[in-house]
Symmetry: C3
Subunit: 309 residues, 3 copies
């Protein structure tokens, strides 16, 4: 059984992850109905506490909550009033006193959702914290791969991009390795974290080797401002070496699928024709994001108070 | 039967418009009940995708959706992240993958809702695009006139203001002429579009002639920044010649009604005492806006998937 | 019976206040249920019209409305479009034409909610106007004290801080004195209003006397920008003299409770260890805020049109 919060894939057991994926399978079925709504969380309140703006992820959580009949309240503090971590905790505790059934937190600084979870009675769901983790993103990626490939175990998954600064990469590395996949990362040396071996992944400096025999290729979004100077010479050079196109994709398996957490910098991480349609499954990832968030909200916010003791 | 999107009054047949007005009549009846809510769109999701901010129109769509029991999600992308049209489409496709039942789009550039509708599975409703069209505004204006006058056919409707740059004017010209009214426009020459005859309207350079025998007078909101220099000498001069007051209104019929899409620049397009109360029907327009948007959402988002094939 | 609006505690009778507190008691009971939702305001629309941003108060009203099954619509006009009071009223009248069942108004200028209430058919609830009143804050404070002390009558309540510029202070002075408490205020002379005696309170220039035998101490939030120059020499000096800590609190009764409307400037109005846990009841105040707003919305927005005549 999962804990009372969802802060990091690192914390989850294989069984926890499988429980979320299985629950999300039922939620996908709800999403295919004519009336895409179930009364599961009627009378429950979910607060989206987004210190860092992200309309896409916030919308996904909001739709997920509403499909479960929860009341969803968006709370985006103005950054000016939140200089000190003290006021972040005070804001969170104030919201907690309004008795929400879950608080979804996004913050630019790693560890803030954990700090908040330590103080709050309500379950806390990490919607992305700095370069730490983005657990629901990894869960939706796992669901998408499982849906397309029928399994995770034994697959070869190649993640390309700024591994060192990516919470999506970290969460996916934990998720895919826990479910038995072989994970490879490919990036310029400055974008590979020092401890990457400890994470159980193999690092590559060229796409050719990294893609050899891959079942799944995931390109990460590049922060363009990192691409001038310290980390990599230029967008053009990054794109030439690590940008994915159909020519490079030929090193992977014939039935490879291409993933991206979005939004895509077209022509940088992915060639234009790879951003749309097969073998890309980017829109499946988005669709599955709603199902995963429904599952997580159901598992954490749907508990009866008695069972939380 | 209407198409799957509502992009422009220009696209609609007389029958389409009459269907919306008739449906809106039923919705007005819901609005007069004690409990102003029907379960029609329960379990359906409506996304307000407003690239251009407009709290009034967004609120009208939001209330309309909620009165039909739909879940309404507001999505206002930060303009900074949407420099390129490519990212506009990617944003829309991302939202579409969350399986909404309708997407309401407002954008400062003409044609964007059409581009989005071409890519999306969900029905798209244009909530105003540049100087092109604002179809729900024209529909609510038609409903208001029909309610007050009992008919549209045979009426004389005079629209005053910056016709050349007004999506409200364009949509209303199509709407009123399709339903058999005579439409006149009155404005300084720089604010009359070159092709105005092709639209089936008569252009006037003075209010006296334009208002002669009019049943309906609609004043448009003036963009104040256009009133210095190229388009017209000054606010005072515009207001003196084209600003509507009770003296000028005497040229129209005794039972003339005065309309304005809001918000009014008081003392510019309308004298203070004309902005409030009879013969002004401005607040009726606002009230009917909710009924029209309920009707449009019902007709487009309420379809069963089978019937969309 | 209360009037049709809630604009100021000054306007309320003792019976009005007791009715709200009693109703809020029932709402607290709803808040303790597993499913914290009642169908009382189903089909009713509440508009949060916040000209001044306040995510905390807005969230409290939003959660309160949703727990009563109302549809809640947030409307925060961009300040740029609202320079003139004329456009404030036009905005409010436009929203009123959409037939809301209550409009919650916050504005930086005293008196704006009253001006709006005079024009609107819908009940108006003041959520804070300039330095005038913040009636739901006083009501939640009264509820919190009654819950902790079992009564208001005969208690001694000391309010510390910028009394002259605080709507929280004004509303609480009216509320506590109407219910029979003795109210004292303590502040530097520049922060005491000239007419403070007329309000029926005693003013003190030192905490020692002001706190002597107090049952309740309420510290107000200090606007830091007021603390340099005209009003008071420095934050350090204010905090030394009027900042509350456990040493100063010893002058009050042993079972004193400490209140603050939040957010707290820790180390300024309240010592760090007083901001959390007993004797502070700050989070009770927040929790009771939802119950009070449910009660007020129920009493004002829940009326049947017939009974409003």
């Amino acid at each position: 059984m999962m804990g009372t919060d969802l802060l990091a894939i690192e914390d989850l057991s294989r069984e926890d992850i499988e429980l979320v994926l299985e629950t999300a399978g039922h939620m996908q079925e709800v999403g295919r109905r004519d009336v895409k709504k179930v009364p599961t969380l009627r009378g429950r309140t979910i607060i989206n506490l987004f210190f860092e703006s992200s309309t896409r992820t916030r919308t996904s959580f909001e739709i997920a909550g509403k499909r479960l009949s929860a009341d969803v309240v968006n709370f985006s503090p103005s950054s000016s009033s939140l200089k000190k971590s003290e006021s972040i905790l005070d804001t969170a505790k104030t919201l907690d006193a309004m008795d929400p059934d879950a608080v979804v937190v996004r913050h630019a600084v790693a560890g803030v959702p954990k700090r908040i979870a330590d103080e709050l009675a309500a379950p806390v769901i990490n919607a992305g914290d700095g370069a730490h983790e983005h657990p629901t993103q990894a869960l939706l990626d796992l669901l998408t791969v499982k849906e397309r490939k029928g399994r995770i175990d034994g697959l070869t998954v190649t993640i390309i991009g700024d591994i060192a600064h990516s919470r999506v990469a970290r969460s996916n590395i934990y998720g895919f390795t826990k479910l038995g996949a072989e994970v490879r990362v490919a990036a310029p040396p400055t974008m590979i974290p020092a401890n990457v071996d400890c994470l159980g992944v193999k690092a590559f400096g060229s796409l050719r080797e990294a893609l050899d025999g891959a079942d799944v290729v995931m390109a990460l979004r590049i922060q363009m401002e990192r691409l001038t100077g310290a980390y990599f010479p230029s967008v053009r050079e990054y794109s030439g070496t690590f940008g994915l196109d159909r020519a490079k994709l030929r090193f992977a398996k014939d039935d490879v699928i291409v993933m991206h957490p979005g939004p895509v910098n077209r022509g940088v991480e992915l060639a234009h024709d790879l951003a749309d349609g097969r073998p890309s499954v980017i829109l499946d990832q988005v669709r599955n994001g709603v199902a995963i968030r429904m599952a997580v909200l159901y598992l954490l916010a749907g508990r009866r108070p008695e069972s939380e003791a």
